[in-house]
Amino acid sequence: MSQRLWKFLTSLKLTVVLLLLSTLLVFLGTLAQVHEGLWEAQERWFKSYLVFRRAGDAWWVPPVFTGGYTLGFSLLINLLAAHIKRFQFTWKKVGIHLTHAGIVLLLVGQLVTDMFSRESFMRFDLGEGQTLAYSEAHRDVELVVAAEPGADGREKVVSFAGKAVKRKLLLQGSDLPFEIRVSDFAENCEVLSHASVKEAATQLLTALGTLESKYGSAEALPIEAQRAMENEGRAAIWAEALKAVGELDKDIVAAAKRVAADSAREGKLRAELKTRFKAQMLGAFQRIPPMQLANERMRAMRYVGREISEGRTIQPDALPAAAPQGSGQKAIVTAQPEVRGMDQQNTPFAKVELLQKGVSLGVWVVSPWLNMQDVSVDGHVFKIGMRNERYYQPFSLKLVKTTHEVYPGTDIPKNFQSRMLLENVAKGETREVDISMNNPLRYGGLTFYQHQMGRTEPTGGKGTSVLQVVRNPGWLTPYLGCAVVSLGMLWQFLFHLVGFLSKPRTPKIGGGNPVKA
């Protein structure tokens, strides 16, 4: 049995099958990115052992497939086993050995990277002159409580990882005079201020109210029909409503006059018109183009439109509060389905209850959408909030100057560059560095890349910059691995080429007879 297993593990057939599965996996994992986004597809297909079909998957997703880890480990085992079994040193085989050794290095390196690398961002969004000593996670959030600054002027911050919040654990900090109970959590949410919802609701309710008065009486019908002629869309709605009461006349004004005079039909026509125009308004509120959703007013309109069309009532002056304390009093927070697209991002929220010796101090809602909120406990003011997880560095970077060049007469970026002042107090180091595309800064085990660049209105047109910060202790392995594989393949290729070119051959078309079957 074990001999058969050994034979299986060392066989070239297994290699070929694994390579085939790998090719397929890479293909499927690439296709999956279209639906799932790069991050999710990577986790599901490449950083996993098995991939199972889920509800809502595209038709091509198989019921079950081998994940990247399974294939990576299997290839590794197959490769090592085959070498243990067949290893023999000849000059001819040096190429193959080197190639495979390099592949092993690459596979292991990728695993190390997977386990230990971390990507984050340094956002200088206040513009030139801003100094930062930390970077922020792209997705992971943390719940933070900041105490008042102590005698040395530094504030004490206690943070809880997003994972703990998500699992709704009871959170305790040794420096905190209270415990935190998480009562609600969602991966993605929408936060709307009462002000924006009120504005949108008033707008919609007023519009709906006008509808009532506009079509309040039969006499108004011909006048409104006349007005509708000015607008193709409205004229079309009129034509449909008239059709519903049996008027097929193209001249909607004449038809409206006829119906207005007919007491049996005018009521129905008014009702038809009201329903149709109402549906149109609600539709307009809900169908906001995705590009405009960055605007809170637009999101509020969508929210209001959806609430009313689903039969709920909205009272602009008595909107529901997300939480009885803090910013939640003046905001509506709704859980949203998680998003997975390339450029989409989830923003979680949590409802937390603060408990002092078992007694509730109140409930707050926290989310990266909201600012830090003040909480008074025993006469001390704490700030509580949720933000992207921060990684502090023992040195700081100050954005001195941004350079953003485009090619003349176009928007094609030619050069992005951030001039930074690096300051490391502990080492007594202060120097200026330039970070640009293809020119990262490697410092303190981290690498800083130019990621984005902009210019913001609120900072008076100051240049802003975002750096990507990567910590990857295994960054050297791919370089080594690649060098070894390339060397091996070159060896092998040249060895064959020399042997091949030194043999003469000249078969010609038609040079021999076709062999009969």
């Binding site: 990115q33 003349p408 960054w475 791919p478 064959h496 000249t506 010609k508 040079g511 079957a517």
Partner: protein, 626 residues
């Protein structure tokens, strides 16, 4: 005679190529369109001759570099790109009657109220329409384009894409018409003079008004009215035609006509270029051939002291446009391929045809390489900078590999590979060129000649080699299944060729992919990010590795190996083109753009060939040679 025939034919091909390798000149007594088209400007962020601007715009809106003035009837006059540009610049009411907007989508024609089919009475062939024919409904096109651009790219319908394409064409068209004068100016030289003369009084009035003193309201009003035209031009963002007044300002010192007008209004001098183009316009409209030529010449002389390099660049690129090296290569590849195909009918008697094919392929490789190098010099870049140049380069690499194979085996197969690969890739490149300027500037992240020269070149050679292996396998299957040509000997040699080429492909695609990883690590901080394009390259590496291991393990035999090599074509095509389409809506599955259709056809054909490869030997006409 037969002995020298191949050489004579090859020399004739060389002569044909060199006949076009010169600066195009204008015959005396004919309008100096060529001299005009050599003039430099800045478009797409780079210095180029007017000739390139005209050709690229036409390619985008009409899918051709020339204009048929009346496609609904035979024998109509054809305008060269330069001649068309002259009308676009200086005689716009005439240009507006030229059917240059290519519109195929029925619903778009419906929206514009255009005839669906050829209709002589309405002066249309049903595919090409003039500005005058589409302009009445431009408002509708704009509204639809706005709506379509709000739709996520992947969810756009063919109609949405057609509308956006048309809207882009309209923009291109208006940009040209606003380049050297405001659109529809009937006598720009006079208008310009009026404007220049209105400036001093207008400025006085403006100053007085600002100081709260009595001022000449009429003079101010006049200046403002004149400047409104310039404001409209500014919105359209035309190319930059006014060179900097001070030498040393470089490319960044160029300005647009509208900017120049605003500068004049601020009291600066009238740039020579502005007046030069205006006087060219007057001469052109008057049909004054001599005056026009003199105006062009005067402007060149004006530019010469400071802009010698730029004039030279314009001239060089015009020579390149005129030479059309890749078009000539396409023709010669076909010719060489046909020679070898005929040769295979009777190899013993027609040996001279193989030799002809070989020499012509060598000549073609020469012109192919010349085109490639010419582009590199013009751009100051390594050979591959975008999809277009990757097609040109893949063809070039395949052609070299084919000729190397021919050197070893001398049986025509290598030539067949060279000519067919060269032909197909250049046809693909030709179609890719329709999306606009193929020498566009590189975005900041790609702006590194080191990585473009190493990673991109090596990985593209990997594509070339994988395609060549696939092509050889296709030959194997086609010759084996459908003809009696595939002898045992030949079958063996083909299998060896495929194996050798796959080794080469594995080496290059691996090193190329790895270099890409290192570049990614240098610029984004991760060696591997499972990005679609990276994955495509990885699939080629994996596939080549699979082929090699399957052969070493003796797991598949000759026909199986050929099937694997053909499947390599699919993998490579996916990596080269397929991944680029993911963003444009593979997941809407209804998506059918021309390129996607072709990709699917290619994949289908290759799958069918794999099917043939797997047929048992008794179905092969060449018998069990395989």
């Amino acid at each position: 005679m037969k002995k020298h025939l191949p050489l004579l034919i090859a020399l004739a091909c060389v002569a044909w190529i060199f006949s076009a390798w010169r600066t195009p000149s204008d015959k005396p007594g004919i309008l100096a369109a060529n001299a005009f088209a050599r003039l430099p400007l800045i478009a797409n962020g780079r210095v180029q001759p007017l000739d390139s601007l005209a050709r690229n715009t036409l390619l985008q809106i009409r899918e051709k570099q020339t204009v048929n003035t009346a496609p609904w009837q035979g024998g109509a006059r054809t305008l060269s790109a330069a001649e068309w540009l002259l009308e676009m610049f200086f005689q716009q009411e005439l240009a507006d009657t030229r059917p240059v907007f290519r519109i195929l989508h029925t619903d778009v024609k419906g929206l514009l109220g255009l005839p669906l089919d050829a209709d002589e009475a309405h002066q249309t062939d049903g595919k090409h329409f003039s500005w005058n024919q589409i302009s009445p409904k431009l408002g509708e096109v704009r509204d639809e384009a706005r709506r379509a651009s709000g739709v996520e790219e992947s969810a756009r319908s063919p109609y949405d894409r057609a509308i956006l394409q048309l809207w882009n064409s309209v923009g291109q068209y208006m940009r040209l018409q606003n380049t050297v004068q405001p659109q529809n100016a009937k006598n720009w030289e006079r208008d310009l003079q009026v404007f220049v003369e209105a400036v001093p009084a207008g400025r006085e009035a403006a100053k007085a008004q600002q100081a709260g003193q009595p001022h000449d309201g009429q003079a101010l009003e006049k200046l403002i009215t004149e400047l409104q035209r310039a404001s409209v031009m500014k919105e359209i963002n035309p190319p930059l035609v006014i060179p900097p007044a001070h030498p040393g300002a470089g490319v960044a010192g160029w300005t647009r006509t509208d900017e120049a007008l605003f500068q004049i209004a601020r009291g600066e001098e009238v740039p020579g270029a502005l007046r030069a183009y205006a006087s060219m316009g007057t001469a052109f409209r008057a049909g004054d051939v001599v005056g026009f030529g003199a105006a062009v010449e005067r402007y060149r002389e004006q530019l010469a002291p400071n802009g010698h390099e730029i004039l030279k660049k314009g001239e060089r690129e015009q020579v390149f446009n005129h030479l059309e090296p890749f078009y000539k290569a396409i023709v010669l590849y076909v010719f060489a391929g046909l020679c070898v195909l005929v040769y295979t009918l009777a190899p013993e008697r027609l040996a001279w045809l193989r030799e002809t094919g070989r020499l012509v392929t060598l000549v073609t490789l020469g012109i192919h390489s010349a085109g490639l190098i010419y582009r590199m010099v013009l751009e100051g870049r390594p050979p591959v900078t975008n999809l277009y140049s990757s097609a040109v380069f893949i063809g070039w690499g395949a052609c070299v590999l084919g000729l190397l194979l021919e050197r070893v085996w001398k049986n025509g197969i290598g030539i067949l590979v060279s000519s067919s690969a060269g032909f197909m890739t250049l046809i693909i490149a030709h179609n890719l060129a329709q999306s606009g300027d193929t020498m566009e500037m590189m975005r900041a992240v790609l702006d590194t000649n080191f990585w473009l020269a190493t990673h991109v070149v090596v990985v593209t050679l990997g594509y070339s080699a994988t395609f060549v292996a696939g092509l050889l396998a296709v030959l194997y299957v086609v010759l084996g299944v459908f003809t009696r040509v595939l002898t045992q000997e030949m079958s063996k040699s083909l299998v060896k060729m495929v194996y050798g080429i796959v080794c080469f492909a594995a080496l290059f695609s691996f090193i190329g992919t790895v270099l890409g990883g290192i570049w990614a690590d240098q610029s984004w901080g991760r060696f591997w990010g499972w990005d679609a394009k990276e994955n495509g390259a990885l699939m080629i590496v994996l596939w080549n590795a699979l082929f090699l291991h399957a052969r070493w393990g003796g797991i598949v035999r000759e026909r199986g190996l050929m099937g694997l090599a053909i499947a390599g074509n699919i993998v490579t095509a996916w990596s080269w083109f397929g991944v680029n389409m993911l963003g444009i809506g593979l997941h809407s599955y209804g998506f059918m753009s021309a390129a996607f259709t072709w990709l699917m056809l290619f994949v289908g054909s290759q799958a069918a060939l794999i099917g043939f490869a797997l047929l048992p030997p008794r179905f092969w006409r060449s018998g069990s040679a395989a």
